[in-house]
């Protein structure tokens, strides 16, 4: 229990500071922060539909967040979940519309597994091998691979091989009925995909903390030298953990396609891949924590739309708060500095 409190300390303090600074910004710009936060909360959790939409938003965040958390835990900085998401989405949609006559229990797993493999290869093959064998910084390579993935999707959709025949809008054909993950609550975005996300989180927890492979990945992540001295294959583990990280980002893309969008639209970003980093960070890379962190940021997203309509506060306040949370989680030593300042002050007063 004490440990859980200790783990929660940094994120909770960071969220509080972010809320306070957010309030100050709102007051300066002429809004009532209490109204704003209230409507934000109602927008996120005020009705069954709102809750459903929040959870729906959380699904891709949980899955990409798990991917990022795996890599972080293994000591690697995969910030390219966005690209792995796109690759998963592309493969998922393609299988979704290209194959007909399959029963759903084959079509859906087929699409999901293919997307997972594609996402895994996207992260493991180039960034993973490059890191393990040439030392190329995975921060940059995964980021570059994201852009390549996004332009690849543009290439496919903008008058390319995946563009809907006879259409004028750059988008893919709609997936077959047999590939659709059905909605859980009608008239919301929430599909059965939420169960995939939850099962995935539990699975990752089990994998990281209960299996020999997870043991190796964590050992390599914490102390490469000790892992090597214990006889572990460090380069192989790097490739595998980056690959596994991509597997879940790829799954996120496919679940979003099969469960919510049903077709791939041309766009510059899904946004999930970047928020995933934030999710993993706030969860301190704990797979179960990822669920809650994802719901928090999903709630900020859905709630902010409601806030904009009802309190007239521009919805981008959500991003402002998100950025601040991440900043203060990263710079958690701020607390020490503040404590130090007080200590000095007290010392001075005591001396005086």
């Amino acid at each position: 229990m004490k440990n859980i409190l200790k783990e929660l300390y940094i994120p909770v303090v960071a969220v509080l500071i972010a809320i306070v600074i957010g309030s100050i910004i709102m007051i300066i710009t002429g809004f009532n922060p209490i109204n704003a936060y209230a409507s934000l909360f109602i927008g996120a959790f005020g009705s069954v539909n709102n809750i459903a939409n929040t959870l729906a938003n959380a699904v891709p965040l949980i899955l990409t967040g798990l991917g990022v958390a795996i890599s972080f835990k293994a000591g690697l900085f995969n910030i390219g979940a966005e690209g792995q998401y796109w690759i998963g989405a592309i493969v998922g949609v393609w299988i979704g519309y290209s194959f007909s006559g399959l029963p759903w229990y084959i079509h859906i797993p087929f699409a999901l597994i293919a997307a997972m493999i594609a996402g895994g290869l996207w992260a493991g093959l180039i960034p993973g091998l490059a890191k393990a064998y040439t030392g190329a910084n995975e921060v940059i390579t995964t980021m570059m691979m994201s852009y390549i993935a996004i332009y690849f999707s543009h290439f496919l959709l903008e008058f390319g091989p995946m563009m809907e025949k006879g259409g004028t809008i750059p988008q893919s054909p709609i997936i077959k009925e047999s590939a659709v993950i059905p909605f859980l609550i009608q008239n919301t975005q929430l599909s059965y995909g939420i169960f995939i996300a939850l099962v995935a989180a539990v699975f990752v927890y089990w994998l990281m903390f209960k299996t020999t492979w997870g043991f190796e990945m964590r050992a390599v992540g914490y102390n490469q030298r000790a892992a090597r001295y214990a006889g572990m294959n460090v380069p192989l583990n790097m490739v595998l953990s980056l690959g596994l990280s991509g597997v879940f980002a790829g799954l996120a893309g496919a679940v979003q396609m099969l469960g919510v969008q049903h077709r791939l639209y041309d766009s510059f970003t899904s946004g999930y891949g970047y928020t995933a980093i934030v999710v993993a960070l706030l969860a301190n890379n704990n797979p179960i924590g990822v669920i809650f962190a994802a719901i928090l940021f999903a709630a900020l997203g859905t709630g902010s739309q409601y806030m904009q309509l009802n309190a007239q506060v521009p919805g981008q306040m959500a991003d402002v708060i998100t950025g601040l949370i991440v900043f203060f989680v990263a710079a958690h030593r701020v607390a020490e500095v503040i404590k130090g300042m007080f200590a000095k002050k007290q010392k001075k007063e005591a001396e005086a």
Partner: protein
């Protein structure tokens, strides 16, 4: 002659250790003054005090007639004290000139390349230290890099030059060259402190020599009036080694056989030179030597953690030369690495997890890739009790343990599986007496059970009290193998310092 530096009654206490205990030393102008001592004798602490990195607890320094009160290396440099660290403080991608003038560039906003080069040429001519100012440091040999460090001191107008183990990284030819340079410098009035643990070198180059042992200066001698034997005795002391009660030495079959092993580092510098030895069942084979003489490279090469250039490793007659670390563990070899925090433990893992760091794939602890944590915890509970790890809470992270208890966790892991061979590097480093005794006891138990033990230590006492046979390594060469019962400290000390007493060198001096 007058003194350039006087060290008066300097004492420096670190938590648990008195590093310098009432140290006295006088360095005359224009002399090469050697400071000789084993690892941990207090040489580095003393130099760091002179260089302003540590503040002494008591005592004073008089430099060039003026009492020093240094607040940092900056002031030491200003006063005219130059130091060449054993590990160079150089920036490989910059040029020689840039490295030398860095932080004290010729005045102006622009980096005056011409002026800098000229200044360096001037100094290098004055002191006969030829070097190309435009060369990149990374392209230079170690010897030339050292020259850059020396020039750095002279550029800052050093009057006293401290060379900390300057020959440690040099080839014999480079060492000769360095000595020539040092002789030249002294002729021009420079004063040099030469820190070393190599007797031969000290005898060759110094005018006077101060010997340190256990934080104390035990004597200053004129080099001409002394010899290797006397210095070795002073260095290691004459105290009787406490021999631990051991059962009779009954060696069995050969367990590990190292044959003509050669290891080079990444720069292709030889680190282990044609080393051969055997270790038997029921035997502790101790490897004595001063730090950095190839012990680590030897062990890591045996353990498959470092490539071998040539030679063979046999384990019970089986060729394991090209085995991976994991395969060697499976053969029944255990390994206690030198740096327990960096190499031996994952500090953010629990004690229980650290206890299976190697064995997690063993069927005892995992089935179909799933770790059986019940078994892991049972094991941890047992080991923690058996090896007296405190506090005995196996769910605690290893980070939270004291050094001694961290080592007990490693020991429990490595010894607990009844290995056929234990390789232990500095198993008691930095531990208190109680923990040391305990670890020694466990190692002896292992030997008595018939296992082979390869003990590498910088502590001569430890080697002598535990080993059945003692190998001495110097500069990558195995100098000799002595009988643990009859070997004396003096003998080993001389070998460690690179001199063979059967050689004619003694008479030659």
């Amino acid at each position: 002659m007058s003194a350039i530096l006087e060290v008066k009654n300097i004492t420096k206490v670190f938590p648990k250790v008195v590093a310098n205990d009432n140290v006295n030393l006088t360095v005359e102008k224009g002399e090469i003054h050697a400071i000789l001592g084993e690892n941990g004798a207090g040489k580095s602490t003393l130099m760091n005090i002179i260089y302003g990195l540590y503040k002494p607890d008591s005592g004073k320094l008089i430099f060039d007639g003026e009492e020093l009160n240094l607040s940092g290396p900056h002031e030491a440099i200003e006063k005219g004290i130059g130091m060449v660290h054993q590990h160079f403080m150089l920036i490989p991608v910059l040029t020689v000139a840039e490295n030398i003038v860095l932080g004290a560039e010729p005045k102006g906003i622009t980096y005056d390349r011409k002026k800098a080069n000229e200044l360096i040429k001037e100094i290098s001519q004055k002191y006969h230290l030829e070097i190309d100012p435009e060369a990149k440091v990374k392209d230079l040999s170690v010897g030339l890099q050292q020259r850059v460090e020396i020039l750095k001191a002279f550029y800052r107008k050093a009057k006293l030059l401290i060379l900390d183990e300057p020959t440690a990284m040099l080839t014999p030819q480079e060492t000769e060259k360095l000595f020539e340079i040092m002789r030249g410098l002294v002729k021009q009035g420079m004063s040099i402190i030469f820190i070393s643990h190599k007797l031969e070198e000290v005898l060759e180059i110094s005018d006077r020599v101060t010997v340190m042992r256990r934080g104390k200066t035990v004597g200053t001698l004129n080099t001409k009036e002394t010899n290797e034997q006397e210095l070795a005795n002073l260095m290691v002391g004459r105290e009787v080694v406490l021999r631990i009660e051991k059962t009779e030495y009954k060696p069995g079959d050969v367990v590990l056989s190292v044959k003509n092993l050669n290891v080079v580092d990444q720069q292709n510098v030889p680190k282990v030179k044609d080393v051969s030895f055997d270790i038997h069942e029921g035997e502790i084979f101790g490897l004595a030597g001063i730090d950095g003489n190839g012990q680590l490279e030897l062990v890591e090469a045996i353990m498959g953690l470092r490539p071998k250039k040539s030679g063979n490793i046999l384990f019970y007659g089986k060729d394991v030369t090209n085995f991976s670390t994991k395969q060697l563990y499976r053969e029944g070899i255990s390994y206690i690495p030198q740096d327990r925090q960096a190499d031996g433990l994952v500090l953010d893992f629990t004690i229980a997890e650290n206890l299976i760091l190697r064995e997690y794939r063993d069927p005892t602890y995992s089935r179909y890739g799933v770790i059986q944590y019940k078994k892991v915890y049972e094991n941890a509970e047992r080991k923690v009790k058996e090896f007296d790890v405190r506090p005995p809470e196996y769910m605690l992270k290893a980070r939270g343990l004291s050094g001694g208890n961290q080592q007990k966790v490693i020991l429990a892991r490595e010894v607990g599986y009844n290995p056929k061979l234990l390789i232990a590097v500095q198993p008691t480093r930095g531990m208190d007496v109680g923990a040391i005794e305990y670890i020694h006891k466990r190692i002896l138990e292992l030997r008595d059970k018939g296992a082979a033990v390869f003990l590498v230590s910088l502590e001569l006492e430890e080697i002598m009290s535990l080993s059945d046979r003692i190998g001495v390594i110097y500069n990558g060469q195995l100098m000799d193998i002595l009988d643990g019962k009859t070997a004396t400290k003096e003998q080993i000390g001389m070998l460690m310092a690179g001199s063979r007493f059967d050689k004619t060198t003694l008479e030659a001096r």
